[in-house]
Symmetry: C2
Subunit: 430 residues, 2 copies
């Protein structure tokens, strides 16, 4: 059954290489084809074989292996659905996770990946609100980086026709994080000012777009100079090159009183700077510790420095300054209703044209090292996407700085991956 | 000139002893009389003699002395107005200040009092937006507890006709504090739940009323059992007797997930409990350290305990719990526009009948010890008001638990205060 889909799927990677364009018509057409495969599922329980990106131990890029696994649809438990994954999101959490710095990821071996999009290929008997063929966003704590994934139905969210699978995979974590921070924790209202670190990153771009849904919000965004044009066009009022300038000084020049909201994915000394920059009644939200990640492997010195500089506050200090400090981590949110409500809101904003995920680049599973390097080196502007579909041999790794080339279909492309692939025992399910 | 007003003013204390009733008609009529005194100001610079409550050193109730001072109107500087004070608010900050625990109060000797209401009696030449006879709220960092006060015009705020002087004196600090916490810092929205400590206190009652301007807000309020009926009528959904029950347990019984917002005037161990009670995305706002105040004088053990238990947080803890913690202290807010905007909003809510300060009791200046004791012992339900007007000898101290008795006028009443009064040298102005 998945074999039948092979060729159709393999055409997709080319289509998705131009992320900022609307999804090609074929993407929509592919949907009935995927769902038509479900009757085949009735044929007696052929195990589904699928590729998965598995973290095999903590360390460098080589610790993530492309493996082939298998499962049976009959393994679906109550409330679950099986999703044929078309695109996955790469997050900073995976860079941390690979180094053993992400608490929510179980010990290796473990399939990584927290978000993806695809088509529902089977549903458990009791699932009535999802059906085979539905195009959905899917979320898990881990395990989304595989060709098929078993997901609780209430962690799948239907997506609009107009939304490509790459956009859908780019949206949930970055936009939910930005949305909940700006509108649930902070109290973004007209006329406020916001400092967005890593403004060209996934959350940065989501936050920039969401800030613009509110009147008259001033956005300070840090990014290296080469990205300034892009983030300015995206809505950042004042781009700041944090590599050559002190952002505190730059912001004070423009807003002597500081800013109302700081979104801080960095941690350490930057949290202290951000706190200092807050206006009275302002709020700083720490949502990451990117400063911990320097090289490919765990860097004890960087960690020590980040933790040493971690802002520690007592309430007296907060009272004397009239400031608020918050922490945010989507991984620790377990309120299903909040997830649902936030995603519904985001879909509305998408339909209204107010938000649109920006895809930086798409990498096939076998190119996961390049994908991670791109994010680690802060080269991306927008989201880095992983495509489960095997790479065709002629394809080059592509990003939105390169032209996508359609080099035709070649089933033999899978050979690339064979060095790393290892057939594992049955049923990987968490 | 102030002598002319004497009798008129001395009639007022009786009128104001029934705080929950609409202001008597005479209060409004009193206004033209006060303002009519301004022509008299043109007569050659008679110094104005006035009574003031002065903190003479740190310690117990006896450190606050009623003194007689004098000033001249010609001392008004640019931007200032002279207010004939009709009523003043007593705040917990003054209890702290008397013990030397309030940073914003200058060292003794210093006239206390941060808020009051009255009638403008003179304006500096450059002041165009206030005029003699205006009924206003007036705010200062200190120095409001005197019969006449010099105040920057932009710290005076016109009050509606329907608002009594006692209501006006009760409003600014409590309601601005509650409003800014609930709507500027926290993000109170329909369906949320709020824990209000000391729900029968000034800020507690203000916060309860303001919560009810938002749909479907659940209010948990701590107060001793004798006050439950009153605060329930005021809008507290679940009154909790903190003296006999553990409020954490009680709240968890009703809302197992906790609450969205905690307003914490206590500090110390209660801050930790409140933080634990927060739902994800919730916010705790510390706005006081009432736990420091136990006896009449500074209690080093209580202070040490409060500070030892003071919540100290690092950002990692905040991230893992998705919580926010804030500090609020109106005294450190210096944004004039924010003051103005908030008071305008509060006046609107008052006019719409959505808020109404609850006056617990009114005490004359010479009864300041009783007033402070009442607050210290947590006997008050609502605001404790100080009246600059001398007490008539027949009057008994009165609170809203007693019937107000109009015992007529008696100028000789001032004798009560003479033991404490000391004529000071010229011009007390800060």
């Amino acid at each position: 059954m998945s074999g039948e889909e092979g060729p159709a799927q393999q055409q997709e990677p080319e289509q998705v290489k131009k992320p900022d364009e609307p999804p090609p018509a074929e993407a929509a057409e592919a949907k009935p084809e995927s769902s038509s495969s479900s009757p085949a599922a009735a044929e007696e329980e052929q195990p589904i074989s699928y590729r998965a990106l598995v973290l095999t131990g903590y360390g460098g890029y080589d610790k993530i292996k492309l493996q082939v696994k298998s499962m049976k649809k009959s393994q679906l438990k109550a409330g679950e659905v099986l999703v044929r994954v078309k695109a996955c999101g790469l997050n900073f959490a995976e860079l941390l996770g690979r180094q053993g710095l992400y608490d929510l990821l179980p010990a290796p071996p473990v399939t990584m990946g927290m978000e993806g999009s695809g088509v529902i290929e089977a549903v458990a008997e009791d699932v009535t609100d999802r059906k085979v063929g539905d195009r959905v966003i899917a979320m898990k704590r881990h395990g989304m980086w595989q060709e098929v994934a078993v997901v609780p139905a209430n962690r799948t969210f239907p997506i609009p026709e107009a939304m490509s699978f790459e956009e859908a995979a780019a949206l949930p974590i970055n936009y939910m994080t930005a949305y909940m921070m700006l509108f649930e924790m902070a109290n973004l209202r007209p006329g406020k000012s916001v400092l967005i670190h890593m403004a060209a990153g996934g959350v940065g771009i989501a936050a920039t777009q969401l800030c613009q849904t509110v009147q008259d919000v001033t956005i300070f965004g840090t990014a290296s100079a080469s990205k300034h044009e892009t983030i300015s066009q995206g809505g950042v009022t004042h781009p700041i090159d944090y590599r050559t300038k002190d952002y505190v000084t730059e912001i004070r020049k423009i807003n002597p009183k500081g800013v109302d909201i700081v979104l801080d994915p960095l941690g350490g000394a930057d949290t202290q700077k951000g706190f200092g920059l807050l206006k009275p009644l302002g709020m700083l939200i720490v949502f990451g510790t990117a400063n911990c990640v320097t090289g490919q492997k765990k860097n004890l010195l960087a960690m020590a420095k980040t933790w040493y500089n971690q802002l520690t506050l007592n309430t007296l200090k907060l009272m004397q300054t009239n400031k608020a400090i918050a922490g945010f981590h989507l991984g620790y949110i377990t309120d299903e209703e909040l997830f649902e409500r936030t995603l519904v809101k985001l879909m509305e904003l998408y339909q209204q044209g107010k938000i649109k995920p920006r895809i930086d680049s798409c990498y096939h599973f076998e190119e996961v090292t390049e994908a991670m390097k791109r994010m680690h080196d802060r080269q991306n502007i927008g989201k880095v996407i992983l495509i489960p579909e095997p790479k065709k041999s002629e394809e080059k790794p592509q990003s939105n700085t390169e032209e996508a080339e359609n080099v035709g279909e070649n089933e033999a492309a899978v050979s690339d991956q064979k060095e790393e692939a290892a057939v594992e025992v049955e049923a990987e399910k968490d």
